[in-house]
Symmetry: C2
Subunit: 327 residues, 2 copies
């Protein structure tokens, strides 16, 4: 039997990634396009189709070899009906029947899921969590999200909203997250936007930092993960202090997850982790182990970096779409 | 075929409960004995056997109708080998082969599990969670523990230590739990021992409270759940203030569980909840709903009181023992 392929799509606020993926999770080809989110759903859907065309072209495959399409989107999703209820950072998406639109491009089953959940599935199946039976992926970017794998399968929850690990309270009555969400939740303490807030507050209060120069070079833009990494490499005391505190909170959060759910592995991904790598993962691991209640678990819990980078979501979406064909 | 029965045992620091249970979770008879924990494992195991004899006697069953024994014990358990590694509040229990000892009483398979996990199973199968597919039980007593049900089955975790929901951090750098555990964890904030600590601290600092008289009547003993309930019924401002704060933290903890895990139901049991009932569960529910991230989930998440009271553990242990026969 000829191999069957799926196209996986990671729909983000700034970019769309489409990948042609086989049943083993290998990427045959991938294409990236700017989302142009400000132009609204119709344009964005056309951009997704263009990305799929390009990926298919690069893979030198005819469309009929694609048996399923999987898409991960950042927001509230009605997976059962293939409808996007609303998206974070993509204006105008209200009850958009995206599965139906994509079936117009190619008449195959379309699976729609949360962007972070598909990334967790990607990491589980062919990334850091390969062969692991239970894991929680934590993605630390502008916000913090995650995905849970139980008995080798994604745990989607009763209302399909499981995995919002960014909104676990770690510091009751603590700060609000810049993007909303729960007061004192880990997103409010350790996301890139929380780190950005803490750094700017300290600089505004007179703390010296190489960030002041680094941001001037960039025209005072956002404190991206690569700016953070550069400041750390220059041993900037303020950046290191703020990131250490974020890592401390992430470690308490990891300990909470370990104590409550006892997964085989925690996987850390997202921009902040990709930028800082083992430097920050090691800190999270140390704090988590100090706060794990079951002393016998200390040595066996694996706390590791994600492996697939920006492709995790597209790969996971494609694999979930292929899985859905079997059921 | 004649009905098959199991004996379920809840081994506690102060009492042992043995119940004869059928496959539907009905209790035919139950017997309670003081544990006499201070006399060490050998005496305690003899007390367990006496409780089983009495329960069997009261059920008017011959021993050969019992096809399995299930036991829940408060501590670190090696379920696979039927060995108690160590127990909380029961001195001298180090690597005790309890399954082997109980098979001497009757040669049937013995299932050993964590006391809180078996109580969660009891509540799931025949208590508040009947018919629910995913739930988390939170037991608020001297400590705080829990049990997780995923896809109708207990989720035991990778190292069999899942369910330590009492050791999720809710207030980073907060107080330590009187019984040890994690700093700022929910056990350190809202368990009976944390409530006791906060009340005594306030009274020592000069706050007036009816507790002073209530405890004198009892010879200055522990602030039990029934003392708390009495103080609330007398509208004692200090007790109400301390319990409201505990309920607030429990609500943040509930929101964290809902956001991360999205279970169909949260079930609250244990002494503090039994003593205060819907008065405290309603507060937990309100705070949880205010802090749940998925607004569409607000109305559908069920936050309810446990139903089986002190029998939950024995019933759950018996049902888990019967389940184990099938596999």
């Amino acid at each position: 039997m000829a191999s069957r392929y799926a196209i996986g799509i990671d729909l983000g606020g700034t970019k769309i990634l489409a990948a042609v993926v086989d049943a083993q999770g290998n990427v045959l080809a991938a294409a990236k396009k700017a989302t142009q989110a400000e132009k609204g759903p119709e344009v964005v859907i056309a951009r997704i189709q263009k990305a799929m065309d390009e990926a298919l072209d690069e893979a030198k495959l005819k469309k009929d070899r694609i048996v399923a399409i999987g898409i991960g989107a950042p927001g509230i999703i009605d997976s059962a009906n293939g409808i996007v209820i609303s998206l974070t950072n993509l204006p105008g998406w209200r009850n958009v029947e995206i599965a139906k639109s994509l079936r117009r491009w190619h008449t195959v089953p379309v699976s729609l899921s949360n962007d972070v959940r598909v990334a967790a599935v990607g990491e589980h199946r062919v990334g850091a969590g390969r062969g692991v039976h239970s894991m929680i992926a934590v993605f630390v970017g502008t916000g913090i999200g995650g995905g849970i794998i139980v008995n080798d399968k994604p745990w989607v929850g009763f209302r399909s909203s499981a995995g919002e690990v960014g909104h676990m309270v770690i510091l009751a009555d603590g700060p609000y997250a810049p993007g909303g969400g729960i007061r004192g939740g880990i997103e409010a303490l350790a996301s890139r936007s929380a780190i950005d807030r803490d750094l700017r507050t300290a600089i505004a209060a007179g703390r010296k930092s190489v960030l002041t120069d680094l941001l001037k070079e960039k025209g005072n833009g956002a404190i991206t993960s690569s700016v953070l990494a550069k400041a750390v490499s220059k041993n900037d005391p303020l950046t290191i202090e703020v990131l250490r505190r974020a890592a401390y909170y992430l470690g308490l959060h990891a300990a909470s997850l370990i104590n409550a759910f006892d997964p085989e592995m925690l996987v850390y991904g997202g921009g902040v982790i990709e930028g800082l790598g083992e430097w920050i993962v090691a800190q999270i691991r140390d704090v988590a182990k100090q706060h794990a209640i079951n002393r016998t678990a200390l040595d066996s819990v694996k706390i590791v970096e994600a492996k697939l980078g920006e492709r995790a979501g597209a790969i996971g979406a494609a694999l979930m779409a292929l899985d859905a064909l079997k059921t």
